[in-house]
């Protein structure tokens, strides 16, 4: 995200509170272990959730770069989340701990620039928890619907 972009989004421009119901575009990062597998389990058990999330498969949530999260918002994502292994259960020992810290950092940055840190989240679940995956998708959808579209969309004219 460039410096211009950051300064362009003053808190004032994001205060369009009268949010119309809209379908958010969400990007989710998952590891190939628990995260991706929990989505598979949701599929196998036919647990439905909103059709507004695209999953990016990474070897580990330790691969989730803060830059990737910011890039997703810069490209107009309304919400971003990470689906990681339960803490203490990362296949690569502590990738999910790294991801936790990075999500917290991204939240701080989003708050600072007025996008709202709530737009990014991390969820922890095991590959067997298809229900938890669907629940996370619903939780994020509801939250983002309340927050409204990513204000950058208008500014960057990317609609």
């Amino acid at each position: 995200m460039t410096q211009e972009t950051v300064s362009a989004v003053s808190p004032a421009t994001t205060q369009e509170n009268a949010v119309e119901p809209f379908e958010p575009d969400i990007t989710a990062f998952t590891c190939i272990y628990c995260g991706f597998m929990s989505a598979d389990t949701a599929g196998a058990l036919h647990f439905s959730y909103p059709a507004n999330v695209k999953l990016l498969k990474l070897p580990c949530t330790g691969k989730v770069d803060v830059e990737y999260i910011l890039k997703a918002f810069e490209n107009g994502a309304d919400g971003v989340y990470v689906v990681a292994c339960p803490l203490g259960n990362c296949h690569h020992l502590e990738g999910n701990v790294r991801a936790t810290k990075r999500v917290a950092y991204a939240k701080k940055l989003l708050d600072e620039i007025g996008l709202g840190g709530e737009r990014v989240e991390i969820f922890y679940m095991s590959g067997g928890q298809g229900g938890a995956f669907a629940e996370a998708a619903r939780t994020m959808t509801e939250r983002i619907r309340k927050m409204g579209p990513n204000p950058l969309r208008k500014i960057l004219n990317r609609c």
Binding site: H46, S48, P59, G62, D65, A132
Partner: protein, 1031 residues
């Protein structure tokens, strides 16, 4: 058998964690494996467990082997993915061995295949058969908490990844499933078939059966809804269980406020005079899970002894007790009553001090023990192998993985009750025994399938082919496939986009192959079910048409789209558009990923010439490879030299003489005595070890190049000044006592009384842990003394009596012979003093509650087995960690107990943790098996999806060094970093685990992970992240 040709194939019976591990090791070594499983899917009991003690790892993740073509992670356990199945492994589910004849090296085996009624190659997992099936059955995988139809899939991730029909008497033969199946995969008239195979050896990995507590009416199991078995609890607590991990009472689906675990249900009783070895730990695990999951729950475990006898187990038990407040009560509860109104359960029991108590619980978990596996007896008769008195497989103490029939080996809980780690050790060990036997038999390299050479696409323009699988109606019934295909065609660089009816069926695969050949595409997007089950299959297709398998991008439009957005076809179609657009965007950036192949040194260095080191060296030498056996002292034997007899009978000194003779006479083994490792470098296949040898007061060093390294450096007996040891000659260690009994039997005759004190260890700050062998050794000496001199009074003062597995018989035997056992409390240890030359032991007798004074002739101390002093230094040299106890720390406590994280370095024997002779032998064989799997490869492949450093950007800031969870990156002073600075980071491709954590932390963006480079994800020229670009 010099005249007979050995068959390079192996039969593994039982596909639980042990059978799968053995199969993968054998297959990696180039042997063909028939993996025969009686049930319909792989995994055994382990598949039903949500978590493992004491790591609380989810078995699901740790138990999954590799994640696609050429994954860099050495497979942890071989939970084989359907299409990733090792080319040398032939999986046969619903199959049984019905006959065997022949000799070691050449057996003929008849296998019975029972009908599944579903062709696994055609099943697309749509579940239509299940939907129409009118029969409901209790779900065995979920231990009866849910039901499934007679047409069902045992678990969402069951392997083989297909449904089956259980055609029992309940099946009304309505044939609706057959009619409805879209791929005609069901044939209800399928019949049993027989197949004859030829194999060189057999491994029995039959596992065990859990005791059925409905046989013991006093527990009310089956009558009281809130009395459940430990496996049922396991399902409740499992995240893949019926409640996704929430523990609720079966009677009212409420959170239980108080949960009790009753230990030794079906263990240590008249019918099962042995310890099941696993229940103490799993009960502790289950109580911990309850504490973590159920707010405010009280957990109480009723037990006789807490047998936490392995690495980190005692710390785990103490944490449960002290940190989480799990209550441990020493009592065997004899029965359960139920309050019929609330379905609460009432336990009447006697506390250790003899008081009667009554306690009410909301849920009672029966910690059921292990029994011999079903049909073990019938199978043993067919195969001609003996069972022991308990019905488990008979083995010899010094040949723990050999059955009584040559050429047939055993691993895991079929030999004696044991947990996952020991089963995994046995499995690799049994594989090593097979490799020894079949040394010289024809091998087939795993990658020896004839494939065309890979096409060099460097200078080709980007051409993407897109295949959208309809999966019958599974995708096409929800997603508008024609529209999706039409739009895909318009995406950049797409040269063809087609729909396929069933991409995974032979016709679909043919269509894709043909289309790829015609279009000349060099990047492929397959939009279908899920990469987890089918990526490997399509990667194989790419490889078959000469493309690198990493040029495939798999998009999930079924499991992640049509199956979860059935009520929203427009949304599902929109999502499919976007997923495929992202798939194409990523595919355009993909590049071939290759593993580096190279020749390597086919030899091993074994550090330590004790029992474990010698056993490993002999197995590798017999497997056909050279071994350097490095021993620190001037003679072989290690701790084995100090063992004179065993509880079971066989003579350890005979074993010692035999091993030393075999090692010294073996032309493939070079024994380097008075030698130590002083330098170490390189990676698997090409290690360099510097060995210093002391000779005539001089030290000579030599450098050895070798392919693998085994650490078998042992441990030692603690000899600190506890209980007047070293101050009064009448206070001796159990090893001293053993020597005295063995060398001067008169000594036992002269004894009137002896006190044996267990669990003697150094002062507090040292980690407390169980040394495993001492209780049995004490009983061994006590029984021997009683045999020689029945009048000798023997007192054993103990904390927990740990005679796990079949060793329980020695405890029973000692009590029968009149040995007196007194439990002492950790906080009130006995004391030893000398009053007027008289040796006295003061101890609090728990039942009387009084302090008693014993006046023995001799006090024998069970000294802890402690880590070798050289461990920290050797650990630094090898770059491997130590455990909290100071022993070497393996890659994974449960699933890789003989590996270090760094590939090609292995660990066995007491250097890992205290253990019995037979356990050291199994462990040593396991390392030999792992070593042989590597040494027998035609070439070694390294790298793949690993991180690499762009030195020109690296400022040697050490961020990656600090970030890597596996300590792989180093700053190499020989390399030149940014601006010509001296030193840049280096990531050894042989060690990198491919997680990418360093790439996301590197402040200079100098590190990239192959296949997941920034320009293949966030910085791609077509946007991958963010706003959906769909109309």
């Amino acid at each position: 058998m010099p005249h007979r040709e050995k068959i390079g194939a192996v039969l593994v019976v039982g596909a639980g964690v042990g059978g799968m591990r053995a199969a993968v090791d054998l297959a990696e070594a180039g042997l063909q494996v028939y993996l025969v499983e009686a049930s319909s899917s792989l995994g055994g009991v382990v598949a039903q467990l949500g978590f493992m003690f004491p790591t609380h790892d989810c078995v699901l993740c740790r138990g999954t082997s590799d994640h696609g073509y050429g994954c860099t992670r050495p497979s942890i356990t071989p939970a084989l993915l359907d299409h990733s199945v090792h080319p040398n492994i032939h999986v046969m589910t619903l199959s049984e061995v019905v006959a065997l004849d022949g000799l070691p090296g050449d057996f003929r085996v008849t296998i019975l295949h029972k009908p599944r009624y579903v062709d696994v190659r055609k099943c697309i997992n749509c579940g239509d058969c299940s939907e129409v099936c009118p029969v409901d059955l209790p779900d065995r995988f979920q231990t009866g908490f849910t039901t499934h139809k007679a047409a069902f899939k045992p678990a969402p991730r069951a392997i083989p990844n297909a449904y089956l029909i259980e055609k029992g008497h309940y099946c009304i033969d309505c044939r609706k499933c057959e009619e409805v199946c879209p791929t005609k995969a069901i044939n209800l008239d399928e019949a049993e078939t027989y197949e004859e195979i030829r194999v060189g050896a057999v491994i029995l990995a039959l596992g065990y059966r859990l005791y059925d507590p409905s046989r013991a009416a006093e527990y009310g199991y089956g009558r009281y809804p809130n009395v459940i078995t430990s496996l049922q609890y396991e399902r409740l607590a499992s995240r893949s269980g019926p409640t996704e991990g929430i523990v609720l009472r079966p009677s009212d689906n409420q959170f239980p406020k108080r949960i009790a675990w009753l230990q030794c249900v079906g263990s240590r009783d008249k019918e099962h005079p042995y310890c099941s070895s696993i229940c103490c730990m799993y009960a502790t695990k289950e109580a911990l899970l309850a504490k973590q999951r159920v707010p405010g729950v009280e957990c109480e475990i009723f037990m006789m002894d807490e047998r936490a006898f392995s690495k980190e187990y005692n710390a785990y038990y103490e944490r449960a007790r002290d940190e989480f407040g799990v209550k441990y009560t020493r009592c065997r509860v004899s029965g359960i009553k139920e309050d019929p109104k609330t379905h609460d359960l009432i336990l009447d029991y006697q506390t250790e001090d003899g008081k009667l108590r009554e306690s009410r619980f909301g849920l009672v978990v029966l910690s059921v023990g292990s029994e011999p596996p079903p049909k073990a007896k019938a199978l043993a008769e067919k195969l001609g192998v003996d069972l022991n008195t308990y019905g488990f497989c008979e083995t010899d103490k010094f040949e723990p993985l050999d059955t009584t029939r040559p050429g047939i080996f055993v691993c895991g809980a079929f030999a004696t009750p044991k947990e996952i780690a020991e089963t995994v050790i046995d499995a690799s060990g049994a594989a090593a025994r097979v490799m020894e036997l079949l040394s010289g038999a024809t091998r087939v390299a795993p990658s020896a399938r004839p494939l065309p050479p890979e096409r060099d696409i460097t200078n080709e323009p980007r051409k993407v082919a897109v295949y959208v699988c309809e999966c019958g109606q599974e995708v096409a019934g929800v997603v508008d496939v024609p529209a999706v295909v039409e739009r895909a065609r318009t995406l950049p660089d797409v040269v063809s986009a087609e729909h396929v009816q069933y991409a995974c069926l032979p016709e679909g695969l043919d269509q894709i192959r043909e289309s790829l050949r015609q279009s000349g595409a060099n990047r492929v997007v397959v939009a279908a079910c899920t990469p987890r089950t089918h990526e490997a299959l399509f990667q194989q297709v790419l490889r078959e048409v000469g493309l690198n398998p990493y040029l495939l991008e798999f998009v999930s439009i079924r499991d992640h789209c049509s199956w979860v957005h059935r009520e929203d076809p427009a949304g599902a179609t929109r999502k499919a558009h976007e997923l495929i657009r992202v798939g194409v965007a990523r595919a355009r950036t993909l590049e071939p990923v290759h593993k580096v192949r190279g020749d390597f040194r086919r030899s091993a260095v074994v550090l330590g010439g004790g029992l474990a080191g010698m056993t490993a060296a002999l197995a590798i030498a017999d497997g056909g490879y050279d071994v350097y056996l490095v021993e620190k002292t001037d003679q072989l034997g290690g701790n084995l030299r100090h063992l004179y007899f065993t509880a079971e009978g066989p003579d350890p000194q005979r074993l010692l003489r035999q091993l030393v003779k075999d090692v010294e006479c073996n032309p493939r083994i070079a024994v380097l005595k008075s030698s130590e490792l002083v330098g170490f470098g390189g990676h698997v296949g090409n290690f360099r070890s510097v060995i210093a040898t002391r000779k005539n007061g001089e030290t000579v060093t030599q450098t050895i190049s070798h392919g693998v390294l085994i650490v078998a450096t042992g441990a030692k007996e603690y000899r600190g000044q506890q209980y007047l040891f070293g101050q009064d000659p009448r206070v001796i260690t159990q090893l001293d006592l053993e020597k005295q009994i063995a060398t001067s039997p008169d000594m036992a005759h002269s004894l009137n009384s002896i006190v044996m004190i267990q669990c003697v260890r150094g002062p507090e700050p040292q980690a407390d842990y169980c040394s495993r062998t001492c209780c049995t050794n004490t009983l061994k000496n006590a029984i021997r003394i009683k045999q020689i001199n029945p009048d000798c009074q023997i007192y054993v003062l103990y904390k927990d009596l740990i005679t796990y597995g079949h060793r329980e018989e020695f405890y029973t035997e000692a009590r029968r012979r009149g040995v007196i056992f007194m439990r002492y409390d950790e906080n009130e240890r006995p004391s030893v003093r000398v009053v007027n030359e008289e040796l006295q032991v003061v101890v609090r007798e728990p039942i009387l509650g009084e302090r008693v004074i014993l006046k023995p002739d001799v006090v024998a101390l069970s000294m802890a087995t402690v880590p070798a002093d050289s461990n920290p230094q050797l650990a630094r040299l090898l770059g491997v960690p130590l455990s909290r106890e100071g022993f070497f720390m393996e890659a994974h406590l449960k699933l890789r107990p003989m590996d270090f994280i760094g590939e090609g370095i292995f660990l066995c024997g007491l250097a890992h943790y205290p253990k019995f002779i037979e356990e050291s032998i199994s462990h040593a064989l396991a390392t030999a098996g792992r070593a042989l799997s590597i040494l027998s490869k035609p070439t070694l492949e390294l790298g793949g999806v690993v991180a690499s450093v762009d030195e020109s950007k690296c400022v040697a800031c050490l961020t990656c060094v600090r970030t890597c969870p596996f300590d792989v990156p180093v700053v190499d002073p020989q390399r030149v970093g940014n601006g010509g600075i001296k030193g840049a980071a280096y990531i050894d491709p042989a060690l990198c685990q491919g997680c990418g954590t360093c790439t996301a932390e590197c402040p200079a963006n100098a590190i990239q992970l192959a296949h997941y480079r920034d320009d293949q994800l966030a910085l791609c020229d077509m946007d991958i992240l963010g706003r959906w670009q769909v109309v």
